[in-house]
């Protein structure tokens, strides 16, 4: 979407199909975006560009691996190539606390002569609740421009909140890259409604020494035409990133995203080990903002921005079952449901079990909370 930025900068789409390897007890998703962008880098003339951007994501409750790339072909014939890969490991929850250690490496090249690469290690501590959470952490690493290496260090803090079908995020960071230093403050949101997904962010570089100043913001909307294809319109302005070597600019992109569906490979339902302690949903009047939807075609979808979504209920013999990720915030039950009434609960990212919005909640006979009641006609 953002052609000047690494990784998630995706423009046009063709789906590649990295099918899920059944042996991976996790969610695997692969996609390719193909699109056309209008790009205006600061200090350059506007240009159109075509892009191919593959991406890959593997997620389990304790680990997350993301790889993505972007190939841009400008109207001038010049090209830009970017690739990033990151891996995160999450510790076992200690109450509401979770630790995260992640490593990120990437490289970019413009034409045949300008090349950046970077390797970063980040540690974060998360304090997560059902609806809100916060984290604090730090990053250390190195970035190189051609053969000149510069150290990278950053302090990060942020918080998130789920409300209705949207997730809101605010974060602040202080980053030093060699002699440059800057402080960014940013807010972001993701909202899902039916086939539409909206992502938006607004930020400001409030202080800088050699990293530029200004306000920036990006927005993208996608419409899922089918289970494996979506149209994406994205645009906005982004700041200079000295770590990854991207220059500030503006862009507008129209693309098509093709997503490989693990379900097509027909892997068996994935059963995760049960944790030692089961928490039923707290009987709060303020439920987490994750919603469930029984669709006209009989599909059961959980709308949640999450790394993993598990469900257990009368249709899984009360064993946790990992849902299949249909789109960035849509998780599908990989089983057909016969007509009937079913009790169930879900959990997000290995957290506590609860009942999503959109279904009836009835008292849990085995605990203080509630269970969901789903009726399939």
């Amino acid at each position: 979407m953002n052609p000047g930025r690494p990784a998630w900068a995706v423009t046009a789409v063709v789906a590649c199909s990295t099918a899920a390897t059944p042996r991976l007890v996790a969610q695997v998703k692969a996609a390719v975006d193909l699109g056309v962008s209008n790009v205006h880098y600061d200090g350059f003339l506007p240009s159109t560009a075509a892009a191919v951007s593959p991406s890959f994501r593997w997620a389990s409750p304790r680990a997350l691996v993301v790889a993505n790339g972007s190939y841009l072909r400008f109207a001038s014939g010049n090209r830009s190539l970017q690739a990033n890969m990151s891996g995160s490991f999450f510790s076992a929850p200690l109450g509401r606390w979770t630790g995260e250690l992640s490593a990120l490496a990437g490289a970019s090249q413009y034409r045949d002569f300008t090349g950046f690469s970077h390797a970063l290690l980040t540690g974060r501590i998360h304090l997560d609740g059902a609806r809100t959470g916060a984290w604090i952490g730090g990053t250390s690493g190195t970035t190189s421009f051609v053969n000149a290496q510069r150290p990278v260090a950053a302090l990060l803090a942020g918080m998130w909140r789920r409300q209705f079908t949207a997730t809101w995020l605010t974060n602040a960071s202080y980053t030093r890259v060699g002699d440059s230093a800057y402080t960014d403050v940013e807010g972001a949101t993701r909202a899902v409604r039916g086939r539409f997904t909206f992502d938006g962010s607004l930020g400001a570089r409030v202080w800088s020494r050699g990293g530029g100043h200004g306000v920036y913001g990006e927005a993208s909307g996608s419409y899922a035409v089918g289970p494996w294809i979506a149209l994406v319109l994205a645009g906005g302005r982004y700041p200079t990133d000295p770590t990854r070597g991207s220059v500030a600019g503006r862009y507008l992109t129209l693309s098509v995203r093709l997503t490989a569906l693990p379900g097509r490979a027909a892997p068996p339902p994935l059963i995760l080990p049960r944790p030692a302690i089961h928490h039923s949903s707290p009987s709060s009047d303020d439920p987490p903002a994750v919603s469930a939807e029984l669709q006209d075609d009989g599909g059961f979808v959980i709308h949640a921005a999450a790394r993993t979504v598990e469900i257990e209920g009368d249709f899984t013999d009360w064993q946790p079952l990992l849902l299949s990720e249909r789109d960035p915030a849509g998780w599908v039950l990989p089983l057909p449901l016969a007509a009937g009434t079913y009790r169930f609960s879900i959990r997000i990212d290995g957290g506590e079990w609860f009942v999503p919005a959109g279904v009836t909640k009835v008292p849990d006979e085995f605990g203080p909370g509630t269970v969901g009641l789903l009726t399939v006609p």
Binding site: R274, I277, H278, S280, D296, E312, D314, D317, W318, Q319, A338, A339, G340, T341, R343, T360, K361, V362, D364, E365, F366, G367, V371, L373, T375, P377
Partner: protein
């Protein structure tokens, strides 16, 4: 009788006993419940089969309790209570009721709907009752008094389709979420739905949702 014969007889009796118990039990329960709970739940399943009640909801309730590490007594009590509710639902809805209807009926009874209202619903609606019963349960759980909820669903039962009943339930929930009192929301929305049902019947060519 020789010692060998006595041992053989005991072994045969034990084998018959074990196979009898195993036949009564669902294999999914074998490794999820302790032996005492398994025996008690197995007896309840046997009783349900004898009474021609659906057994799967009972198995699932026991599995749910096991998954939540509930006390054995609590699991057995939950299964016994559900078996009783399924029996009452069957008596109210009739022996021809489907397992899905009985399960939905048991949920409605649990929510404090009266058995007589289930019987009235069966009398007034020729289609499957699963969605209507679920809507009734949802309304009561959502705060609509049971008698008001039953009156509303019974008013729709004869002519409304399942999707219209489901839309009615959603509309009531939305009104409640926006601040309406549950009883008032049900009363207003049932009138609107009846109007829609009547108009749809009078104008069959009016476009509808697919």
């Amino acid at each position: 009788m020789t010692t060998v014969h006595r041992v053989a007889s005991l072994a045969l009796a034990a084998t018959l006993l074990v196979t009898g118990v195993a036949r009564a039990q669902d294999p999914r329960l074998l490794h999820r419940l302790d032996s005492t709970t398994l025996a008690a739940v197995g007896a309840l399943l046997d009783s349900a089969r004898t009474a021609e009640l659906p057994v799967e909801p009972l198995v699932q309730r026991a599995l749910e309790g096991a998954a939540k590490h509930a006390e054995p007594d609590r699991i057995v009590a939950a299964v016994r209570r559900l078996a009783g509710e399924l029996g009452v639902a069957r008596d109210a809805l009739g022996r021809e009721s489907s397992p899905a209807e009985l399960d939905a009926g048991a949920s409605a009874l649990r929510a404090a709907v009266r058995p007589e209202d289930l019987t009235l619903l069966r009398q007034r609606r020729t289609q499957s009752l699963t969605v209507a019963l679920a809507a009734l349960t949802d309304l009561v759980v959502g705060g609509v008094p049971p008698d008001s909820a039953a009156a509303a669903v019974l008013a729709l039962a004869a002519r409304a389709r399942d999707d219209q009943i489901a839309d009615f339930r959603r509309a009531v929930e939305r009104d409640i979420a926006l601040g309406a009192t549950p009883a008032a929301a049900a009363a207003v929305r049932v009138d609107a739905t009846l109007h829609e049902v009547t108009n749809a019947a009078a104008n069959p060519n009016t476009p509808r949702k697919p």
